[in-house]
């Protein structure tokens, strides 16, 4: 392996890993909160659309309008994430941190119907599609620029497989977290990703580029915890 090949591998691996973490966070969060069956349908549909897009555009993937895609998916995740954020705040406040032993089957967010849970399906599809396209972008742009397409593909695929494996390991842990807390956490995640992608789609520059997603996540987490405390005081008083 030459130095250039190794550099391309490491660069695509790290860049793809960041996107894969966002993808897996959404899929694991939605699956643990709403149920896995429809979430896996959404993942499968997202991967199918992604494969079709990559097959259609190939090395011309850079011509896909990623800005509008980020805007549409970002806004949809944001407005839906805000619903879960509000519900999560209210439920955690109402049940308090000591009395949250809620059986999954009794939680209204868990899908128990016979058909497909379209909410889980759409959320998983959007997460997989947008992040998958971004990973494909990274692989194609770096691979073409360095004329090391094989190393770029191996780097991107390795990151996706590794992060998916880590996500699978954490999925079991997520299943033990009370649904109300999980809904609050996933609401914070969806609100963060939705805000970030919406503004990226509009062409707005963040102060620290992609790293800005971390302080944004911390900011929303602090706000959510503060609102939960206020709601808790309101429940206790009222």
């Amino acid at each position: 392996m030459t130095g250039a090949t190794a550099t391309v591998f490491v660069t695509t691996f790290l860049g793809s890993a960041v996107e894969a973490i966002e993808m897996v966070a959404i899929v694991v969060g939605v699956g643990a909160t709403r149920g896995w069956r429809s979430t896996w349908f959404g993942v499968g549909a997202g991967l199918a659309v992604l494969v079709a897009v990559v097959a259609l555009f190939g090395l011309a993937l850079g011509s896909v309008p990623i800005g509008p895609l980020r805007l549409v998916i970002g806004v949809l995740l944001l407005v839906f994430g805000l619903q879960w954020l509000r519900k999560g705040i209210k439920r955690v406040a109402a049940r308090s941190l000591t009395g949250m032993g809620i059986a999954a089957a009794t939680d209204s967010e868990r899908w128990v119907g016979p058909g497909v849970d379209w909410t889980a399906f759409v959320l998983a599809l959007k997460g997989v599609l947008l992040e998958g396209v971004e990973i494909a972008f990274i692989v194609v742009s770096i691979g073409l620029a360095a004329r090391e397409m094989t190393a770029a593909i191996v780097g991107g695929a390795s990151a996706l497989v590794l992060i998916a494996a880590v996500g699978s390991a954490f999925a079991a842990m997520f299943n033990r977290i009370p649904r109300s807390v999980l809904q609050l956490v996933v609401g914070i995640l969806l609100t963060t990703f939705g805000t970030f992608w919406s503004l990226e789609g509009l062409g707005v520059e963040w102060p620290s580029g992609d790293i800005s997603i971390l302080p944004l996540l911390a900011f929303y987490a602090v706000i959510a915890l503060s609102y939960t405390r206020i709601e808790r005081r309101r429940v206790v008083a009222g």
């Binding site: 407005v79 509000r86 109402a94 503004l199 509009l202 800005s212």
Partner: protein, 77 residues
């Protein structure tokens, strides 16, 4: 007995109900606030004014206002 037309109408209705629930949910003001914030962001951005803060600030204010309007559910409820 349902006709093909009524099945199509039911399907279209279910489609719009799903997307209304997905986008608007239980509080339409939050979705409107997000839409307005995006328009303000575009306007500021076009004038070269730093605008990334508008949407997070709107999220914080709209969420607080929405929580104030709706009472928290009872413990165990």
């Amino acid at each position: 007995m349902s006709t093909p037309l009524s099945r199509v109408a039911a399907g279209v209705g279910a489609f719009f109900r799903f997307w209304y629930g997905f986008i608007v949910g239980d509080d339409w003001t939050v979705a409107v606030a997000v839409g307005a914030a995006l328009l303000v962001t575009v306007a500021l951005n076009q004038r070269g004014i730093i605008a990334w803060w508008v949407l997070p600030l709107t999220v914080v204010v709209a969420t607080a206002a929405s929580l104030r309007r709706t009472a928290a559910p009872r413990p165990g409820g």
